[in-house]
């Protein structure tokens, strides 16, 4: 989520970007592939011209010879030079394979594209037909049709085209169905565009690339299959020849002379691998556009002296930073977050997409994605410093003291494991609780979250529950350990408002009953204000304001917080007033510019804001702001502020 939201601004030139994505051809694999394909092309053209004569010249005096200086691979039963035959067979092997692939692709793609265009009943019939044809292995179908069409090169090409058409049809059908289901296709249909235009303008450009890819791979398989048919005697017939026939003839004398059998085999493998690698490189080039490059981050800031430990703090973090390598360079989604949670406190972490709130949570829980790295000045959980304890101790403390609840209850459970297993496995692994006792505990927790069903529920699997039920189970599972801290990352975003209210009620109860601290992460500022004791507002990877939740509506001092609050449509606000908005775009994810991340959008900016980044400093009791010119504390609505600013 974080990465996708960054892509628009990431495409702008930014100083953090150091290396452009490399084209697939420049990799060693690309070079090798190009060399192999080039040599095949040269042989296909030059082979027949240079050695075609020699390949057909019989020599009765040198029949079935082994390798000699004259005949490097020996001669066949008519005394023809096998090396010349092998080389001049290149185009005889490649051309039919390419022809069969193109024929099959044309037929298959037409069939598959038809499914996207025709009406419901015809589409289902076509789909069933494709399914039926796909049930048979291509080689068997090819053999059947080769026998039917009569042995010979033409028959084999036709048979192979028939055999590989269903595969193309299926790929086309799948790809076209994917495109047909998109919103932009629906929009085009609502515009009343005609069918051929839909196909040419919207469907084909999207499926062309993967189709090219599969055609390449199919050409390799076709070459192998054609050789196989010739090998069986169903393909090319003497006196013509290709690699498969040469292999077959060589195999008859493999007991005495292995080379005549091995050489055509190597040729077939060489060509097959060349096509395979071509597919690989093409797919890699397509995939590289989305795959990040791991990159070394220039050294993080030296750690500052941490604050002294406080007894009633569950978690204390100072100057947390996270760097994340992406395709466009290293981004810095979290740039110095400082926060502390007291026992039993519910703190909201609120921010828009790209503010770094989710990565902050993952960094706190030591669950950052591969490649991302976190640094900090202080990181103290349950009174123990992260630096001063071993990795194992730290893991143990996190395991028993911290639990997480994730945004999407549909994907946060292992779909194939029973609910009971997933609820009890942590307790059993870390506390060594026997199974029966763990199950009893799970039942107690399920009752607490008001889920009926007891043991039957424990035996069910996640897909049998609704979204709200799953989130309840997630809360029950999180409380199994009686953790000191629960990090809830947008736990209600995927749910309906009425269910959201139930879940919030449960979180409140967990916090009240177990004195658990809760870090509640959300983009919904109204929800956070409603549910939490304290609110941390994040912007551009830093906490810009830390204030009591009840002051959020009117007492915010940071310009960003004020504007954010004012822009929330409220059920009780005056409808005829325009909603104030925040001009400008999201902050630069590379975070290279000095100064306050908000200064370019801030109506109250000072000269200092562009040069020096403000630090979070206390303003009043329980109120901290990171701003060089905090707004006056007079409780007046942010709405007036921004209107003035706009004038």
């Amino acid at each position: 989520m974080v990465l996708s939201s960054l892509s628009p601004s990431a495409s702008r030139a930014a100083p953090g970007r150091t290396r452009a994505s490399r084209p697939g051809w420049a990799s060693p694999m690309g070079v090798i592939t190009l060399a192999m394909l080039g040599s095949l092309a040269v042989l296909a053209v030059a082979g027949a011209l240079s050695w075609g004569r020699a390949a057909d010249r019989p020599d009765p005096s040198a029949v079935l010879r082994g390798p000699t200086a004259d005949h490097l691979l020996g001669t066949d039963h008519l005394g023809r030079d096998l090396l010349a035959r092998l080389l001049s067979a290149t185009w005889l092997s490649l051309l039919p394979a390419v022809a069969a692939t193109l024929l099959g692709a044309a037929a298959g793609i037409t069939l598959g594209a038809l499914t996207a265009v025709v009406g419901g009943r015809a589409r289902r019939l076509l789909g069933a037909l494709i399914n039926l044809l796909l049930a048979f292995p291509a080689l068997l179908v090819a053999m059947f049709f080769a026998a039917l069409f009569g042995a010979g090169a033409g028959g084999a090409v036709g048979a192979l085209a028939v055999a590989c058409a269903p595969g193309f049809a299926r790929i086309t059908q799948t790809l076209a169905a994917q495109v047909a289901g998109t919103d932009f296709m629906a929009a085009a249909r609502v515009l009343g565009l005609r069918r051929h235009r839909l196909l040419l303008r919207h469907v084909l450009p999207h499926i062309a690339e993967p189709l090219m890819l599969s055609t390449t791979v199919a050409a390799g398989s076709a070459l192998v299959a054609l050789s196989g048919l010739s090998f069986l005697g169903l393909g090319v017939q003497p006196p013509s020849y290709d690699w498969g026939l040469l292999l077959s003839q060589g195999l008859d004398r493999v007991y005495t002379e292995p080379l005549p059998a091995v050489a055509p085999g190597i040729a077939i493998v060489y060509a097959a691998v060349a096509f395979q690698l071509l597919g690989e490189v093409l797919a890699g080039a397509a995939g590289r556009r989305t795959r990040p490059h791991p990159e070394e981050e220039p050294g993080a800031r030296p750690a500052r002296a941490g604050r002294p430990a406080s007894a009633d703090h569950v978690l204390e973090v100072e100057d947390l930073r996270v760097v994340l390598p992406t395709t466009d360079g290293v981004i810095r989604p979290v740039r110095g977050v400082t926060l502390a949670l007291r026992r039993g406190e519910m703190v909201g972490l609120v921010g828009e997409s790209g503010s770094g709130k989710s990565l902050t949570a993952l960094a706190l829980a030591d669950l950052l994605p591969d490649g991302a790295r976190a640094t900090w000045a202080t990181h103290r959980f349950l009174g123990a410093d992260a630096e001063s304890s071993s990795r194992k101790e730290r893991r143990g403390r996190l395991a028993t003291g911290m639990a997480m609840i994730f945004q999407n209850p549909a994907s946060a459970f292992n779909p194939s494991l029973r609910i009971g297993t997933q609820m009890t496995e942590a307790v059993r692994a870390h506390r060594g609780t026997p199974r029966a006792e763990a199950v009893e505990q799970a039942l107690v927790q399920l009752r607490r979250v008001a889920l009926p069903g007891g043991r039957r529920l424990l035996r069910s699997r996640p897909f049998q529950l609704s979204g709200g039920q799953r989130q309840r189970v997630a809360i029950a599972a999180a409380s199994m350990m009686r953790p000191d801290l629960v990090i809830a990352d947008e736990p209600t975003t995927a749910l309906d408002v009425t269910v959201q209210r139930q879940i919030m009620e449960l979180l409140r109860r967990v916090r009240r009953d177990d004195a658990t601290a809760i870090l509640f992460i959300s983009h919904d500022i109204a929800l956070v204000a409603d549910a939490c004791d304290r609110v941390l507002v994040m912007y551009g990877g830093t906490v810009v304001e830390n204030l009591p939740a009840r002051e959020l509506a009117v007492g915010a001092r940071h310009p960003y917080t004020r504007m954010l609050v004012a822009s929330v449509p409220d059920l009780a606000a005056d409808r005829d007033r325009p909603l104030p908005t925040i001009e400008g775009g999201p902050p630069d994810p590379f975070g290279a510019a000095p100064g306050c991340a908000f200064h370019d959008r801030c109506p109250h900016r000072l000269d200092r804001c562009a040069v020096e980044s403000p630090v979070l400093s206390p303003l009043g009791p329980g109120h901290e702001v990171a701003c060089w010119g905090p707004l006056p504390s007079a409780p007046r609505p942010g709405r007036n502020e921004t209107e003035e600013a706009e004038k």
Partner: protein
């Protein structure tokens, strides 16, 4: 209901093929959106509001009922029928990431829409595109960009521009703000209201976000499991919701301003049932706080379908035991009246203007 005004739906029913047989996603919905006004359609997931949107623009075909635009019915599945409908009704989608063809620049997308029904010369096309971009508050420099080079809010503006390019009589906005950040959302809502004032199209604004709906709508309709349970002018609905579902829905909306939170509305139990097998009678009765599960003797809810009040009434509800208008509303005190209304009650947190 008067014919000839904007969009009108009469007893529209839409069925899908679900994995276990047909699912009635929209069940006998009647709704009117006069020209120049906005009707907000509110409902939770599975209530059928997106299916309704697709039916209105012709992506799904209703199996019963009539949909008219400007008094005319557009039936038929042929391309020509679809084109005639497309000239009248346009749709803006929820997800700005997928609503635009990722391979087409903004200019190409808009040109395609602008040229869908009228042939445009190169120069007038450029002018039209410039005008459309200006309309949605984007600068002309955006025209050459691909969707992935735009932010979510900008993409959604382009999607609105594309929909308005054909000059439709009806605009259907399906959850267009739910994928956006708060600050961007406000700007888009304000823009939509302005555009409507200037262009006078009828708008069906679909959302699960009551606050957003309230901000743009003149009339709000609440959907539950394929049916409309309550329809009323916006302020009337917010001030005096009569259907128990509307009341619980309103009370579940979190508010920034502590103290305005309604007290006493009970927590709704469970979740909306599967639309494939809806409950008998009133579809809300198993969860209803004033239904047979809480008030013995109200068996009528489980047995008989409540029908909406007569169409002539401004505030209609489909409930056997609706709350009376003078019952304590969930958001008492916090609701301003319409511009032409009387003096507005104020909350303590707000200063006089």
């Amino acid at each position: 209901m008067k014919e000839g005004t904007g969009l009108a739906l009469y007893d529209v029913t839409v069925r899908h093929d679900g994995p276990f047989g047909p699912v009635t996603a929209v069940d006998g919905v009647s709704l009117e959106v006069p020209r120049g006004t906005t009707v907000g359609l509110v409902g939770e997931s599975g209530s059928g509001k997106s299916t309704l949107a697709r039916a209105v623009v012709g992506l799904d075909s209703p199996c019963a009922g009539r949909i008219t635009v400007g008094g005319r019915e557009y039936r038929g599945r042929r391309a020509a029928d679809r084109r005639r409908l497309g000239q009248q009704v346009q749709l803006v989608f929820q997800d700005p990431d997928t609503a635009l063809d990722p391979r087409m620049t903004v200019r190409q997308s808009l040109a395609e829409a602008a040229g869908a029904f009228v042939r445009l010369e190169r120069r007038s096309r450029e002018q039209r595109i410039g005008g459309l971009l200006e309309l949605v508050g984007l600068d002309a420099g955006c025209a050459g960009r691909l969707p992935r080079q735009l932010s979510g809010g900008q993409r959604q503006r382009v999607a609105v521009a594309r929909a308005l390019a054909v000059g439709p009589a009806v605009l259907v906005a399906d959850e267009i703000t739910s994928a956006l950040d708060v600050s961007v959302r406000a700007a888009l809502l304000t823009m939509l209201r302005d555009l409507q004032r200037r262009m006078g199209f009828a708008m069906l604004f679909i959302s699960h976000d009551l606050a957003a709906v309230r901000h743009v709508s003149d009339v709000v309709a609440v959907m539950y499991l394929g049916r409309i349970v309550e329809t009323a002018p916006t302020e009337s609905l917010l001030r005096g919701p009569r259907h128990p579902y509307t009341r619980t829905l309103l009370s579940a909306v979190p508010s920034l301003h502590a103290g305005r939170r309604p007290a006493g509305e009970p927590l709704l139990a469970g979740e909306a049932p599967d639309p494939a097998s809806p409950p008998t009678g009133c579809r809300f009765h198993p969860r209803c706080p004033v239904g047979p599960n809480h008030r013995p003797g109200r068996d009528v809810c489980a047995n008989r379908d409540p029908h909406q009040d007569a169409a002539a009434q401004p505030h209609r509800t489909a409930c056997h035991f609706p709350s009376r208008a003078d019952d304590r509303p969930p958001h008492a005190g916090g609701v301003h009246q319409d511009a032409n209304g009387g003096p507005t009650p104020r909350t303590p947190g707000e200063p006089p203007s």
